[in-house]
Every structure is written in structure tokens, then in C-alpha cells.
Amino acid sequence: MIYTASPLAVGIFFAVVATVLGISFYFGRKTTSAKGYFAAGGTIHWSVNGIAFAGDYLSAASFLGICGMIAFSGFDGFLYSIGYLAGWVVALFVVAEPLKRLGKFTFADALDSKFNSKGIRLMAAISTLVVSIFYLIPQMVGAGALVTPLLGLPHWVGVTLVGGIVIFIVTTAGMKSTTYVQFLKGGLLIVFSIILVFMVVDRGVQDVPYEGYHDFITLEAELTEGSVTSVSDPAYTVAGEYTENGLHFVKLQRDGINNWWNLESGTGTLTEALTIVTLDDGSVLFNGAPREDQLFYSVGNMHRIMVDGEQVEEVHGLNVISFLAVIQESEVVRFVADVFTSGDEKVRIWYQKVTPGNEILSPGLKFHIDEGSSFADKMNFISLMLALFFGTAALPHVLIRYYTVPTPAAARKSTIVAIAAIGFFYILTLYMGLGAMISGVLDVESSNMSAPLLAQSFGTLMFAIISAIAFATVLGTVSGLIVASSGAVAHDFIDNFLGRKLTDHKKVVAGKLAAVGTGIIAILLGIAFKGMNVAFLVGLAFAIAASANLPSILMVLFWKKTTAKGIAASITTGIISALGIIMLSPSMYTRYGLEASAAPFPLDNPGIISIPLSFAVLIIVSLMTQEKGQPQGVN
């Protein structure tokens, strides 16, 4: 799609960025100590911290990624919302108060509180950096995706812009400004998402999403021995064909423009599709023409609308229950992606697939867990849900927020505020995603843009506000991650592992230098991973966190025989096994430009193997390294 920047959108965007920078300057002048820089002096009120938790957590993955995944895959995208929220239960009931009691700046403080072990410090610092960087990638990808339609700038500019602003925020002020930026952005995100959802359900559902929506036509094909020889409209001629796995695509030519159509299975009907074709000479055609010709449309519409058993053309003024009930009963046109090569053309195609509402609102469109799915498919799903459940309580930027409040009780209360705010927001994602799915606004090239484009269907002002908030969302989360990384480097690695007894001031300087380094790495990776769904990428960060950190946190709290060597070995195992499985997964093989089926490991999500493995290593190594008089778990 071609995006053009609107002056209003640009104005609101810069107002939000200016506000964020203003907060940073204000608090930057007041932050001088390490306690102030890394933990906001432990003075944040629990209610502010709770909403800041939400601001931290409702990242690009939650807002852009989940809404996009629901818009393209229905309920399967909502499973991410459910898993992300469920993880907070582990954080609240098991981790929040004990970690607050034991730590100071980083979660390594709590792990190492009874051991004074350099091994724990080193591994915890490495783990924090690895998880933070994996979490940073999707935020940067989300930033790049946003800036293109908002400011009319290329992806890499957006990534660099976010990276630059965040490095500035973190190096000028630290945790206090980060907290207030997240508080502001978390509050705005929830308020404007509520407004957007009410607009969506009130607008309801209609056959034609809006005036000017592309009229996708169908043609009848004449088949001879399974091949299309001609079509019902003589203006079109058959120029090619491609079949695979029950799919049959036909290249038709009209007025000198070639495009691929989908022959619907078991019928002679050809339906229009969207295609991006890369030719041997490197030129790229969008629906058979250069991008500037604007033949590549926004999509997503209803096929048949049913209300109480009767078919209607449109229905308005729905509520949060009847909106879902109408979709459940009706049929939706989804655009399903496929890739193939035909002659000198590399074709990315999105073909229409009429999908009943009950399939949209139940599992199976993304995760192959319905009847007929393989054992590996089911394990992949369980693995993801396991990682989401155990990942939240092990994310470094979530864990450091327990140190910004004064007491364990305040840590608990702020976690409950966070659960309420985040849970409420995640219910809203279902409506925003489904709203985008049927509003004719989807950009098949970027699922991440679904929520902002849904807002655009209500006018430029709404688009500008939602996009600016989404951008602030990225800023807030990235700030938190970079503070966590800088704490790991300055406090855990330099101060405690290397034993360089830094003064308070030097520790802050080291933290700021680490923030610059992490920020630059995040910018480079954000450019490299352009186009991947951000919720999927965050799912990988959760898997690494759950594998590397959670076994140690839980065992040090609840198993007296835990030893320092057991913890260090468990973190090492968790990082290596989770990263190794990800690198050998089908999704990464596709990223390398190889066939997904060639991947040596069939799972995309490593949690089901790496989490138990990390637990097992901790138990075995701890049992092997028991020493009389040695300090053990803090239970």
C-alpha cells in the first residue's frame, strides 16, 4: 500500500514525542544517584507503578501485533492476549513480593541474595541482555511499521528515530522518567482503545465496508483436463497456471496487465487475489503494475451477514456481546497468504477465503490444532502457551519495576492494578482485531498496521491519535528494556561480577553507556527483522525468559537445596536451549531464505523443551554441588 502523511497526524505525533521528551528533561534534572537512575529511588506510588506496568507491558506486540494477528487469524491471535495476561498470575501470586523483599536494582540481586556468586551475576546479566534484545526487536519493527503511514518515511527511518529518542530518554533520566512516560502512555492507550472499540461495535457490520472499497469480481473458468483454457469475460486471456497442495492459481492478462487469480476448489470460479510479483530483473509488481499505480488494495470484508438466522446487508448499533454473536453466525472473507515460483516470477499471493464466523472465533486458523493436525503442531501450540504463562514473571523489564515501589505490599498492589488494566485492554484487542478484519482496512503486507488502519477508517484524527499513542507505546517499552539492560551491565556485570567498585556516579555513567550500546543493537536488528509479526517475535522473547530466568527464580524461592552453581547452570541451559531451538526452527529457516520443511527442529516455540530442561539442570547440578555450610535457597 502507499501511505501519505497527513499534517494533523504529523502534528499529533510530534506533540506526543515532545511530551515524552519534556517528562525526561524534568525528571532528568532530579536523577543523580544509582538508586534514582535504576529504581526511581523506590518511591513510586503503587497505583502509578501499576499503570506504568501496563504501559511497559502493553508493547508494540500487544497493541500492533495481537490486533494484527486477530485481524488475520481470528481467535488464534486472541490466544496471545490470554497467555500474556495469564503470565501475570505467576508474577502476582509467586514472584512479586519475594523478589521485592530480596532485590535492589535487578532480579539478579534476588537470585544472588544468599550466595554472593559471580557465576549467577554473569549469567543473569547475559540472560537479561539476551531477553531484552529479543524483546527489543519487535518493538523496533513495530516502530518502523508505524512511521511509514504516519510520517511517510521508510521503515529504517522509523526504527532509527525510535532508537535515537529512547537512547536520549534513558541516558538523560533513567527509571523515573521511564515510569512516568509509561504511566502516561499506558493510560492513553487504554482510554483511546475503549473509544475505538465503542466506535467499532456501534458502526456494526456491513457487506461493503465503505464507499470506494474495491469490488472484487469473480469469473467463470472453462476447464479442460483440469487446466483453465478460457474465462467467461473475453477481455481476459489465460497467461499461466500454478497448482500445489490442492491450490490452483491462474495468471490472467487484461489490457497488458498480468495478475494471478485463485480457482476455488471444486468449482469453476476464479476470484481476484492480491499479488506481489518479483521478476528476474528485480522489478516488483503489485497486482501486475508498479506500486504507484495503486492497484494493491486494502482488504477485509464480510461475505454473508446473519442476524438471528436472517441474512441482512448491514447491522448497526451493536454492543460488545451482539457484535461477537453476529460475527459468530456470519461469514467473513479472509485473505490467506501463499508463496510460489512460476517461471521467472516469484509470487506472493493473498487469495480470498470465505471463512465461517464460528471458525474465526475458535482455534485453528493460525495454530494447526484442529482435527487432522500433527503431533508437532499440537506441541508447538502447548509450547507457546507454556512460554507465555511462565514468561511474564521472568521478563527483566517487568522484574525491575518491583524495585521502584517502597514495599512488598506496594509491589503486590501495583501488580493487581497492572492485571486489571492489562486484562481489560486485552479484551479490547479482540474487538479491535475483528473490527479491522471486516472493515476493509487491512494491509496484507503488514499485519502490524491493522489497529492504526482501523482507527483511520474513523477519520484522520483518530488515526493520528492512535498512531501517536502506538509510537509512544514503543518508546515506553523500549525505554524500560534499555534501563533493564543497562542495569544488568552496570550493576550485575561491571560492579558485581568484575568487582570494579564503581562510585554511585560512575555506575550511572556505565549504565548510560550500556543503554547507548543496547539501543544501537536494537536499531540494527529492528531493520533486519522488518515485516515479521511482532506478537510472534515477542513470543520468542517470552520463551527465552521463561527458560532462562523462571526456573531459577522459582527454585531459589521454594527449594532449599538450590545452589549457586545450580542457578548459573540453569540460566545457561535455558538461554542456549531456547536460542538453539529458535535458530533451528521452521520460522527462522524461512527467514534465512530456506524451506521451512528443511528445519531440523519442527517446533517454532522452544518452551516445552527448554523450560523443563532448565529446571532439570538446576535440580541435578544443585544436588551434585551440595556443600555443608554453603548458603542455599531462601525458602
Binding site: S81, F93, K104, Q328, P363, F389, Y403, T407, I416, L430
Partner: protein, 100 residues
Amino acid sequence: MDHGPAVEYHECEELLKYKQKAGLRLFFIYSGIYGVFVLLNTVFPSMMESVIFFGLNLAIVYGIGLILIAIILGLLYNHQCTKMEKRLDTSSSKSQGVSE
């Protein structure tokens, strides 16, 4: 090496044990409900399509229910802990003054 907490406070052993026990009990309850949800999706995915009420299917009702149950259990846990903190009158609860 200064590993201590950023702010000093004190909680008695009885309170710590009470909170840990209450937290673990609610954690296992929620884990069970979440585990059944994941298993139903994996083993009986077609069951999730059954319409339960108001035209909503089991997948949606259970999914939104999981989010709401997390909020309700969180409030219940806080109620239990706050009640115990007040009863034991710890310095932790005092230190937060009106905000508590």
C-alpha cells in the same frame, strides 16, 4: 556487596508464610483452569466452537473468562493479604499510610 532492598521495611514471619501459602493456593487454582483451557484447545478443538450463551462460543467465553478470573483472583489475594497485614499491624502496612 550491597544487595539489600532499595527501601528498608520489615514483615513478620507469620505474615510472610500466610502470603506465600495464599499465593500458591491461588496460583494452582488458576494454573488448573488455564491448563484445562490449553488442553481443550489441543485435544478437543471442535468443542471450542460450541455456542454456550448469547450466541458466544466456548472459546470466546472461556478465553475472556480466563482474563476476568485472573483479575478476580488478584483482588481476592490482595483482600486476604491486606486483611492479614492489618491484623498483624506490620510496619509494611503502616509505611504506606493512606495509600494503602
